[in-house]
């Protein structure tokens, strides 16, 4: 076989002259410049198969062409980081020879087109990224964003009109996540579900997975040894999902969504369960020298990345690939995104052992090629070469674009809005005849602030026997590492409302919020993954958002010492020309030395004291849920988050959980102190008597504006904790020592949440407000107990 790619004789159906290549390239999403670069690299026009491979490998989804140069600025190293970005998922040292790998990824467009399968395969895909690193997946989480499903009571007492399409999406995505995760046997330990009409035309489905491995079991996606054979493990390759990466993930689509359904893959969680067990057995027997999952861009991606990473070549015979349909064209086989497949490299003398393990788990396996010296990826079909290209050009030499970016003028108008002018008394007079209690109760029952129990109860969160806190019990999910006392805590946070006002500061706040969620459980934050959901990078205003988001992410991860170990960029999230607000979803992982120390946010005992610790409460209604529920136009300025204080607060939280001082802890975030208090009380089934904190040094009850801030400001850096009387002294001492504020709010007990003289919210009313909205909105009240 020649390694000179310029002189290959292709069969007639693979040959392209320039007149045919150019329109085909356009159809596949490649630009003229990109086609010219491909032709220059190859020394000729590409074959049909090569063009297909380049189109997916150089797509936005696989090549990160718009974001790559900006992502280079992120902090990615630290003593805790064993593997940073570039592999399938980052790997973090958690001590005792154990490591944890985690990553979050988007499946937005497939879920918009076909919610059940789109969400299901999102879970399946992220699990394979974790498996590829040599790890057993031990938990998944999902961060979901939809439009408003309607059917709930607005603050003025009217019913928000139901939106059947949003309900269809919510129902389908939740079913899809459950369908896959429940059957594959990995617990779902939480995440977020956000309802906001900004996502009505483009829902966000981001799936996170975490796995555990011994350092010695780490696998890398590298074809390092010539003569190793490539074994395709898993499901047969079919026509599903062809070009998903280029067609769905890398362009905006409008009303023709249903026509794109053949581009959505179909998931088989049973096949994935067997594939997981098969791969883990292969790893433990030391039978694998390199492995890559096949998701986006299928065989094209796996073969080129494995080869490129080790500067080797590979020869692959497509006739050996087990197919669902023998009439598939070569480019279809190469670009198929059929699920539940892995490509493993094994020594030829161990091949029989590998095939025996696969047979035991009923996993189909085909030997499809071998690693060769050189740098060329050569693919044959029926004896003819159909593609011969430098692996590196496919995998690592895709276009890197410095797209123009510009801060849009509308930012000035947004910044000119005074979001902090909200007067709670005036709003109550306008909406509820002056009844503040009703106003607050309705706010807490809005789907954005209400409990997401309806979602969590459709997922198995217990399988594998490590779940320390049920979803919803804390802002982070906590799962014990098998065979140890250690646990990891994981939180995902996004906030498009903040980020649309200021993508850089909004992202800094999002990182701080995820960091705080993790610390509130008692876990020490270690590392970050991220899924950057944004609009169209070819538009300078949206490209500016991307650059600002990445800048804020790097700044905050650096200041909080939680390096970025991996992630995903999802662009072209827009509908009818309107982009989503910039929505970076940040996942932070932390470690608890003793799983049994973990605390949730629910109060535990009557007589315990409630304290607010961290930053003082300041004006913070810009981008807040209160402003949105009141129907005010978005706008305002985000005050900068004090990341130094966030770090000190996390230190206090971690040490005070470890020594048993804290009985509960929860971040003050979306919905402000009001929502945090409601969650703590409802979760614990206990009331509390509370004096609201001062705002910017003024008593909360000074006037209606101060009161709105005291209850609903989303100013960062705050945690609501409970302690017993002895614990209070320890807590105050620790806070003083760390330079962190502490304000005593009141006492746990009684059957109502009493907010000074402002309002008294009976516990049963709060419980219904918190728990009944989603089942009612989704039309399933009859199943409630």
């Amino acid at each position: 076989m020649t390694s000179d790619t310029a002189t290959v004789a292709f069969p007639p159906d693979e040959r392209l002259d320039e007149a045919r290549a150019r329109p085909l390239a356009h159809e596949l999403g490649l630009t003229d410049d990109e086609l010219d670069r491909i032709a220059a690299t190859l020394g000729r026009m590409p074959s049909v198969s090569e063009l297909g491979m380049y189109s997916v490998m150089w797509s936005e989804h696989c090549s990160y062409k718009s974001s790559r140069m900006h992502l280079r600025g992120l902090p990615t190293t630290g003593p805790q980081v064993l593997v940073g970005p570039g592999e399938n998922a980052g790997v973090v040292d958690v001590g005792d020879g154990l490591a944890v790998t985690f990553k979050i990824e988007s499946h937005n467009h497939p879920s918009a087109v076909e919610p059940v399968q789109g969400a299901a395969t999102g879970v399946g895909g992220i699990l394979r990224d974790i498996l590829t690193m040599g790890a057993r997946p031990i938990a998944v989480m999902d961060a979901l964003r939809f439009g408003d499903p309607g059917g709930w009571t607005a603050l003025d007492g009217t019913t928000v009109p139901p939106d059947p399409h949003q309900r269809h999406l919510v129902d389908g995505v939740v079913r899809g996540v459950g369908l896959y995760g429940n059957c594959v046997g990995v617990p779902n330990i939480g995440g977020e579900t956000v309802f906001d009409d900004a996502y009505a035309g483009n829902p966000l489905v981001n799936a996170l997975a975490v796995g555990v491995l011994r350092h010695t079991d780490l696998q890398l996606a590298r074809a390092e040894r010539s003569g190793d054979v490539a074994v395709l493990l898993g499901s047969a390759t079919g026509r599903d999902g062809i070009g998903g990466a280029s067609v769905l993930a890398s362009a905006t689509f409008e009303d023709d969504g249903e026509d794109r359904r053949p581009n959505v893959q179909i998931g088989d969680p049973f096949a994935e369960k067997l594939l997981i067990e098969c791969c883990l057995e292969l790893y433990h027997a030391g039978l694998v020298s390199g492995i890559q999952d096949m998701g986006a861009a299928g065989i094209a991606c796996a073969t080129s990345e494995l080869s490129s990473a080790a500067s080797m070549g590979m020869q692959v015979d497509l006739d050996r690939v087990h197919l669902r349909d023998a009439t598939m064209a070569s480019w279809e086989i190469l670009c198929s995104e059929s699920q539940e497949r892995m490509l493993a490299l094994v020594r030829p003398d161990r091949l029989d052992e590998v095939l025996a393990v696969a047979a035991r788990w009923q996993v189909p396996a085909s030997v499809i090629g071998e690693v060769v010296e050189g740098s060329t990826l050569t693919l044959t079909r029926r004896g003819d070469v159909v593609a011969a290209a430098p692996a590196r050009s496919l995998a690592d030499e895709g276009p890197v674009l410095d797209r123009p970016s510009a801060r849009p003028e509308r930012m000035d108008a947004l910044a000119a809005v005074d979001a902090d002018a909200v007067d709670l008394h005036a709003e109550a007079a306008r909406l509820t005849g002056g009844d503040v209690t009703t106003l607050l109760t309705r706010a807490l029952a809005a789907p954005m602030l209400a409990s997401k129990r309806w979602v969590h109860e459709q997922y198995d969160h217990l399988v594998l026997g490590g779940t320390v806190l049920r979803p919803g019990a804390a802002g982070a999910g906590v799962v014990r590492l098998p065979g140890t006392d250690r646990a990891v805590a994981l939180s995902t946070v996004g906030n498009g409302r903040w980020c649309e006002l200021d993508p850089r500061e909004g992202t800094r706040r999002v990182v701080a919020a995820a960091h705080r969620d993790v610390a509130c459980t008692g876990a020490r934050p270690l590392a970050t993954t991220n899924c950057l959901n944004l609009g169209d990078p070819t538009r300078p205003d949206q490209m500016w958002q991307l650059v600002e988001v990445i800048g804020g992410l790097g700044d905050a991860c650096d200041a909080l010492d939680v390096p970025v170990t991996g992630g995903n960029v999802s662009l072209y999230n827009a509908s009818r020309g309107v982009p989503i607000p910039p929505t970076p979803v940040v996942g932070i992982l932390g470690v608890l030395t003793r799983a049994s120390d973990a605390v949730g946010r629910a109060v535990r005992d009557d007589g315990d004291e409630l304290w607010l610790i961290g930053a003082p409460t300041t004006r913070g209604l810009a981008g807040s849920q209160l402003v949105r529920l009141l129907g005010h136009a978005p706008g305002g300025v985000l005050a900068p988050v004090d990341l130094g204080l966030e770090r000190r607060l996390a230190d206090v939280l971690v040490s005070a959980v470890a020594d048993g001082t804290l009985r509960s802890a929860g971040s003050v975030g979306r919905g402000g102190l009001l929502a945090a208090l409601a969650r703590a009380c409802v979760g614990g089934g206990r009331g509390a008597e509370v004096t609201l904190p001062d705002v910017d040094g003024r008593p909360a009850t000074t006037d209606g504006r101060t009161l709105a801030q005291a209850l609903c400001s989303e100013s960062p850096g705050r945690a609501l904790v409970s302690v017993d009387a002895a614990g209070a002294r320890t807590l105050v001492a620790r806070c003083e020592e760390a330079g962190v504020g502490a304000w005593r709010l009141g006492t746990v007990g009684g059957d109502a949440l009493t907010l000074g003289a402002v309002a008294t919210l009976p516990l049963d009313v709060l419980d219904r407000a918190h728990h009944d909205t989603l089942p009612a909105t989704m039309g399933t009240t009859e199943e409630r107990r």
Partner: protein
Amino acid sequence: MGARVGVVTFPGSLDDGDAATALRGVGGDAVALWHEDPDLRGVDAVVLPGGFSYGDALRCGAVAHLAPVMGAVARFAADGGPVLGICNGFQVLCEARLLPGALLRNAHLRFVSRPVDVDVVRTDTPFTGAYPAGQRLRLPVKHGEGRYVADEATLDRLEADGRVVFRYAPGDNPNGSARDIAGVCNAAGNVVGLMPHPEHAVDADLSEGTDGRPMFAGLLDLLAARV
């Protein structure tokens, strides 16, 4: 090491590891049994764990009951050997006709995963001897097909013969099961199936409490006394 208790793994079994952990936690020797095994390796009792055996192909448990190991389980059960089926294991036992009735899709047509209150109705089975009669347990359920059904005559007979072993507490039936039935046993009382998951409620450091632990501890005590 205490008695040897087999835990069967079918392709798609998910809670097999948790069942083995629960057994080891009370001093048992958990023996891994593979769906293709022709015999039970001399174990003293068998647990069929939760999961999605064979991907729930055809119906839950419909393929698993044809696996070679199930022939051995049926013989073991006929000889009076203690057999516990949890969730999918319960479905498999019903498909194998080792237990009466069937488990259909939840009445509300959704997967349900939450803690429920369950009353122990019968205490003279190998798995419930450590509970006082009428004890209320807090155990998690997690299933899409957990609605227990049988014809009225069968239900009446089960009630009359005292073969309802577990019942969801009034108002806490999570799936629409007939007569709030959460678990039943065979006529001899040695084969028990239930939808709630005792193996997920054995560790005080985890989220679900320890109400499931006596189910395994009681079995081990019984087996120890027999030796």
